[in-house]
């Protein structure tokens, strides 16, 4: 890759550092581990820059992050993915409305109670503003799995927040 392409690549990759670190924190749940995972991700990305097709840099970096996360988890014999039975249709779970007066702590606690495979797609959709296809690419899931898990996540999140509103 030519020097100017190097420069361009590095600039754009570093522009997504906060996103990559944020998702690392969501996956690991530990800021120190997330820093190591993020650094590992960028080192891999810079080594693999020749394979980057200029489409969506952030999705590409987050896909590398997910691979690195799964590798680390497998090395430590921690279950990286918990298989979930898929709902038959998207209309199985109702979506409760949000009660008034929710505060930051309510959202944080409700998100923390969701299992990882439901929490991460919600955060990717709502905080990182990724589309369904991008989430599928980043998490390596079929599009249907993303949709059903996201719907299930929203239903569970709604129930948890509804409970907080009845305190």
């Amino acid at each position: 890759m030519s020097p100017e392409r190097d420069w361009d690549f590095e600039a754009e990759a570093l522009g997504h550092l906060d996103s990559v670190y944020r998702v690392a924190v969501w996956l690991c749940g530990d800021p120190t581990e997330a820093q190591d995972l993020t650094q590992d991700t960028y080192e891999r990305a810079f080594r693999a820059r020749g394979g980057f097709v200029r489409t969506n840099m952030r999705a590409w970096l987050l896909t590398i992050l997910r691979h690195r996360f799964l590798n680390v988890r497998r090395r430590h014999d921690i279950a990286a993915e918990v298989p979930l039975p898929e709902p038959e249709t998207l209309t199985v779970s109702p979506l409760p409305d949000l009660p008034p007066g929710l505060v930051r702590g309510d959202i944080e606690r409700a998100l923390a109670k969701l299992p990882l495979e439901l929490r991460v797609p919600v955060l990717l959709a709502d905080v990182e503003e990724l589309g369904m296809a991008e989430i599928a690419e980043v998490l390596g899931w079929p599009l249907g799995t993303v949709k059903s898990r996201l719907w299930r996540a929203r239903a569970q999140l709604g129930s948890l927040l509804e409970d907080y509103g009845q305190r």
């Binding site: 020097p3 100017e4 993020t38 998100l111």
Partner: protein, 254 residues
């Protein structure tokens, strides 16, 4: 037009939020929602949840030491460290000239403001990669203003000191779209920001797309805020979150 079933319509909810649906799907969804109060209510509840999560979910940002560690390890940073600051600066300026004058027009035909935004991002990153504040050293506004007058040959307003997080840290003359411009440099515990300032008559084409109030946009993973006021065009670039850039832009433009 045949209306989609409820299941099909709900399948479109998530991608409809950020305008990712094609016009046909968007139209079919809108038609369904106007005819189906159950789905319309569901869509409203979904939107409220999305907004609450977006506004209230924790948003950790990369610690400065992680950013510094990555910058030190970059192939580009090592290359420029070997070249030395002066030669690296000359190379960077040549590169901007080459990209702006030769490659960009051939590869793409973006609008004038988009080209300015791209070059501003490049220059901001160049400063961050060097990890230094530029030629002026200490960040006294009047010192920096005098430096710019000497270097650029025209007056620029003295830079504002910053906001509660970002503090003025330095400045240097820069060169974008083949025009000499002032670049002031702000530092916060969480990142950096570069403010480019030039007379509107020096950058007439991009200035046409900019209003008097800062508007924050995303460009290649960076946040940019641009505004034109008092005959000067201002472009602020940072990797900080949009809320921080909005706040800093408000402080610098007030």
């Amino acid at each position: 037009m045949t209306l989609p079933a409820c299941g099909e319509a709900r399948d479109l909810f998530e991608d409809a939020v950020h305008g990712r649906l094609e016009a046909t799907a968007e139209g079919r969804l809108a038609a369904h929602l106007s005819a189906c109060p159950t789905c319309a209510a569901l869509r409203e509840r979904l939107d409220r949840q999305r907004s609450a999560v977006a506004a209230l979910a924790p948003r950790p940002v990369a610690p400065p030491e992680l950013r510094a560690r990555l910058l030190r390890g970059l192939p580009g940073a090592r290359r420029h460290a070997r070249l030395g600051p002066a030669l690296a600066g000359a190379l960077a300026a040549s590169l901007v000239w080459f990209l702006a004058g030769t490659l960009l027009p051939l590869l793409t035909s973006p609008g004038a403001f988009e080209r300015l935004a791209d070059e501003a991002v490049d220059d901001h990153v160049r400063v961050v990669l060097r990890q230094r504040s530029g030629a002026a050293g200490p960040g006294e506004p009047e010192t920096l203003q005098r430096l710019m007058v000497d270097a650029l040959g025209y007056e620029v307003p003295a830079p504002r000191p910053g906001d509660r997080d970002f503090r003025l840290a330095g400045g240097r003359p820069s060169y974008v779209l083949k025009r000499p411009v002032a670049c002031f440099y702000y530092r916060s515990p969480h990142g950096y920001a570069s403010l480019f300032v030039a007379p509107v008559d020096q950058l007439e084409d991009p200035a046409r797309s900019v209003g008097p109030t800062p508007a924050v946009i995303e460009r290649r993973g960076y946040r940019l805020a641009a505004w034109a006021r008092g005959g000067f065009l201002y472009v602020l670039v940072s990797e900080a979150p949009a809320a921080d850039v909005t706040r800093l832009a408000a402080a610098l433009s007030s």
